[in-house]
Symmetry: C2
Subunit: 234 residues, 2 copies
């Protein structure tokens, strides 16, 4: 049908963005939702903030695509410590698994609308459709690339570098006129960066003192010196 090659777009915060595979595609485009609806057996679902979409260990029989809102993928230690692996925004796909069960949890950050696809149905299609199968592979590889960058950040960067990296990354998604809108709380940012909420807060304040950013309110940040921020994230 439509959308053959340009399906896989380059950038991504949540790493699986724009992975829409062939037949599933049409259902994912709001402007023509009914056209191929039968061939794309996705069901629309809505989640309030902090509602779980699936849990680590659940049977992985669906995967999802974000229509609106922001979703986080995270893992927990037994004592409650949390690591957020990725934030998914409009167009991102998440919940693809190698095994029978999810190895990560997914939760809505903000009010979110997603489409759920039956894994078996898509796998069956992938059996017949080489292009779809290739796209799945490529998309997961791209997710792996994101995970690697994230590991470098978590293991080897200091607090200022981490926060600067986060601002740069998120700016590619929600910046307009140099102002970014954060969908997530300080706690989410801290758990994404492997820091505490206090360190995130202090670091943002420090970046503001240094005139790299301006904290308009808790969810709006103006990037005043993009070049300097990118240097910090180098």
């Amino acid at each position: 049908m439509a959308a053959p090659a340009a399906i896989l777009s380059p950038s991504s915060f949540g790493p699986l963005r724009s992975m829409a595979p062939g037949v599933v595609w049409s259902a994912l485009r709001p402007e023509e939702p009914e056209a191929d609806a039968f061939r794309a057996p996705g069901t629309v679902q809505h989640f309030l903030p902090d509602r779980q979409i699936f849990a680590d260990g659940d049977p992985a029989d669906h995967f999802y695509r974000v229509v609106t809102g922001v979703v986080r993928a995270c893992k927990f230690l037994s004592d409650g410590r949390r690591q957020i692996e990725a934030f998914y925004v409009t167009g991102d796909v998440f919940g693809l698994e190698a095994g029978l069960n999810y190895n990560i949890s997914a939760e809505a950050v903000s009010d979110s609308t997603v489409i759920a696809f039956r894994r078996k149905a898509v796998e069956a299609l992938a059996q017949k459709d080489i292009a779809l199968s290739t796209q799945l592979t490529t998309a997961v590889m791209r997710a792996l690339g994101h995970a690697r960058s994230h590991a470098l950040l978590l293991g080897r960067r200091g607090a200022v570098e981490k926060v600067a990296s986060f601002l740069n990354e998120w700016a590619t998604h929600s910046a307009s006129a140099g102002v970014i809108h954060l969908a997530m709380t300080r706690q989410d940012i801290a758990d994404y960066l492997g820091l505490t909420i206090e360190t995130v807060s202090r670091t943002l304040t420090q970046l503001e003192r240094d005139r790299l950013i301006a904290l308009l309110n808790t969810r709006q940040i103006r990037l005043c010196n993009r070049a300097a921020l990118e240097d910090l994230a180098a």
Copy 2:
């Protein structure tokens, strides 16, 4: 020709272990190396310790499978800080990429023999062979699972937990009679865990004082209390 289904094995330190796809398979088995050699255009290569196999940013026109030895995948910051993402052992595949270029470097840890496969050739095969394509996808998803666990470790675990996790992980590869052999230096371990060499050393000493391990020599460690180690890594 042989080996259809059991190709994808479960466990893995380096995350892509045992991903040998169909036609490539036979060349990967030392016991029958010539049988399908033409159909599997892999070339054997040898690397001395610390030799680079490919660099972050290089054109990604081959991928590799470890025959003997240990390989590390790592990323660097501009000032030289290093993060090791994975160690690959016999049977592991590495160097699969979504884009045109590698987004990570690979280096031999020990004396290593690998087989290099032309990416284009395998991609062409995957176009015709659904099973191969599916296996690629599954394998990369498994790698992603490893990366997620690693991120949790890097972001949210303390030094003792990190070292204990490493010992447990590596024990699944090179343990016999409760003794593991380390192919890598303390620096490699430190860069895998997001620590310094001194902290790794001190933590090992502490684990020995606590009778969880015995340091036979710098490369041989006896695990004296596997249960306690697994608790620490919980």
